[in-house]
């Protein structure tokens, strides 16, 4: 306990120093070696004399301190460090998407360690030539998301979707969140390209959100009126992944609100056995059809269906194993870390980020409601054992497999013998396809 108090005491003293010193000094000059002068400009002659007599060791310590994180910390940095710690806490304590939240949380810590930005040390993720900047290239160039999709394709079993294709419509219905949020973002003053990137949060698909934001809201594209779009990759990715992790918190109240007990108790017909030929045909037909309709979604859907064919063909087991294990793990680590690090306080803590978070939450809720309502509408036309449990409509948002898991939990709460997981996986994976198609359409309209 004493040791803990000592450590906390030292940290708080250093923290106080960090708030006191940066205000005293101002950095001037343009070279890498900066000249530090007093800010108020009223340095007396005796003080100047004191500086002249300062020892070299003193200067060294002073310089070391100026380069340290304590001297460069701002409240923004501390807020973001706290956010990173909360992410890590949520991942470890409640196991909310730990494979994503741990890399993102650590990335936030790495990206928000304060340092002297003007020193040219090439440390920050936005500084050209820094290690993090090289890794971040995979995000800005849209390389990581298709690789993630390859892994998802290689690990997803589309049997439940193939056995009951009508559930595909639920995945389509849930994409309403994307387009309503797009309109909402426009009303709040975002440019159309930025609004498109924000809207895709409603797809509840992290890689798709990163892919689209890296193309539409990357801080590089020039709009027709000559202005440059803002770099919103960080806030959009963090919002998408946060809401994906919070699926067990966000969805159940909406599911309870929009369904009654009788509907939640509906038992669905068990899915039929799917032949190997159907499983092989699924990725081939899916690729050809979706790519012809929306060629812009080819990087995502091409890789998704390619990965699935590796799995289902049965002759490329080694490639499928690599895609769904080692490769997706490596890319997830790099993606999570760099997305987390991209939330540098000065770039992330803006009014736009807050709006994106609000819009993202609304988008997620609208998407969930869209799937649920459409399932109820479908039930009006279905009879007997073909009726569907409307809860599975909530899995139309493509947070795979979390939303399907939430549906299973909700179903079991109502009836311990009603297992909805397999049924919910169908709209869940069709949501992945739907959100990727929507991303392609927005890209072709807005780029």
């Amino acid at each position: 306990m004493k040791k803990l108090l000592t450590v906390i005491g030292i940290i708080s003293i250093l923290g106080l120093l960090s708030f006191a010193f940066p205000k005293t000094f101002e950095i001037t000059g343009t070279g890498t070696e900066k000249e530090i002068t007093a800010q108020d400009g009223n340095v007396s002659g005796s003080n100047q004399a004191d500086e002249m007599t300062q020892t070299d060791a003193g200067k060294g310590i002073s310089k070391f301190f100026r380069y340290s994180g304590f001297a460069n910390a701002t409240p923004g940095h501390l807020v973001m460090l706290l956010v990173g710690l909360v992410f890590i806490f949520l991942a470890i304590r409640f196991e909310y998407e730990p494979l994503l939240l741990i890399p993102i949380g650590v990335g936030i810590l790495i990206g928000n360690i304060p340092f002297m930005l003007e020193s040219g040390l090439k440390l920050g993720i936005y500084e050209e030539g820094s290690v993090m900047n090289y890794l971040y290239f995979g995000v800005t160039a849209g390389i990581y998301p298709p690789l993630i999709f390859l892994g998802i394709g290689a690990m997803t079993d589309f049997s439940s979707l193939i056995s009951n294709p009508r559930l595909m419509l639920l995945g389509a219905a849930a994409q309403v969140g994307i387009f309503i949020t797009f309109i909402g973002a426009l009303i709040l003053g975002f440019y159309p390209a930025e609004a498109g990137a924000i809207g895709i949060i409603g797809g509840a698909d992290g890689p798709t959100a990163i892919f689209l934001s890296s193309k539409l809201a990357n801080g590089i594209n020039i709009l027709p009126d000559g202005t440059t779009v803002r770099n919103l990759i960080g806030p959009i990715a963090i919002a998408a992944y946060s809401y994906m992790a919070l699926v067990p918190v966000i969805q159940p109240p909406i599911m309870r609100l929009l369904t009654n007990k009788k509907e939640r108790l509906i038992k669905m017909k068990p899915p039929r056995a799917v032949t190997k030929l159907e499983k092989i045909l699924f990725p081939i037909i899916g690729l050809l059809l979706t790519a012809f309709i929306s060629p812009s979604s080819l990087p995502l859907l091409g890789m998704l269906f390619f990965g699935n064919l590796l799995k289902e063909s049965g002759v490329t087991k080694r490639l499928a194993d690599t895609a769904r294990n080692s490769m997706i793990d490596i890319v997830t680590i790099l993606l999570g870390l760099t997305v987390g690090a991209s939330t540098q306080a000065d770039v992330f803590l803006t009014e736009q980020s807050m709006l994106i978070f609000v819009l993202g939450a609304l988008s997620f809720m609208v998407a969930t409601a869209g799937g649920l309502i459409f399932a109820k509408v479908m039930n009006l036309f279905l009879r007997g054992e073909n009726k569907i449990n409307p809860l599975i409509g909530a899995a139309g948002v493509s947070a795979v497999p979390d939303s399907a898991r939430v549906v299973q939990t909700m179903g079991l709460k109502e009836d311990p013998n009603n297992h909805l997981l397999m049924h919910a996986m169908a709209p869940n994976v069709s949501g992945v396809i739907g959100s990727a198609v929507a991303a392609g359409i927005l890209l072709s309209f807005l780029l």
Binding site: L161, I162, S163, P165, R166, M168, L169, G171, A172, A173, Q175, V176, I178, F179, I180, F182, I183, L186, I187, L188, G189, P192, A195, G196, P270, P271, R272, A273, T275, L277, E278, L281, F282, I285, G286, L289, T290, I293, S294, E351, M354, L355, S430, I433, G434, V437, A438, I441, L442, F445, L446
Partner: protein
């Protein structure tokens, strides 16, 4: 900061509404097309199966050919249990055969004596 947020409906142009409406329709249409294709694939596959079954005389008017996953699992389990039981009902014939070579070091008496004990006795 929140008080500065402005809701401006004039930002929503005709183009934006077109993007939203047409975009959603295309997403829906793509998945509806996939639905129709995947609904018809099993029917096409079953045409061939029905013809084969009719030729073999196994059914006149083959009804629903789909087997549910749990039925498949039950059949697999039954087969597994049957084959597992079948293993226990073997002929009991011992298949070890006497070989023509009589001598083998494994049955040699000379190797069964222990020199170590002899050393101790001395």
């Amino acid at each position: 900061m929140l008080s500065e947020i402005q809701f401006d409906l004039s930002n929503v142009s005709g183009f934006s509404i077109t993007v939203a409406v047409v975009g959603y329709i295309i997403v829906f249409a793509a998945l509806v097309m996939l639905f129709f294709i995947y609904s018809s694939i099993p029917k096409l596959i079953n045409i061939n199966v029905r013809q084969k079954l009719k030729r073999q005389g196994k059914c006149e008017d083959c009804g629903d050919l789909h087997i549910e996953g749990d039925v498949n699992a039950a059949i697999s389990m039954a087969l597994y249990l049957y084959l597992d039981e079948a293993h226990d009902e073997e002929s009991d014939v011992i298949t070890i055969k006497r070989i023509s070579k009589q001598y083998t070091p494994w049955s040699s008496k000379i190797y069964s004596t222990n020199t170590y004990f002899r050393t101790l006795r001395r």
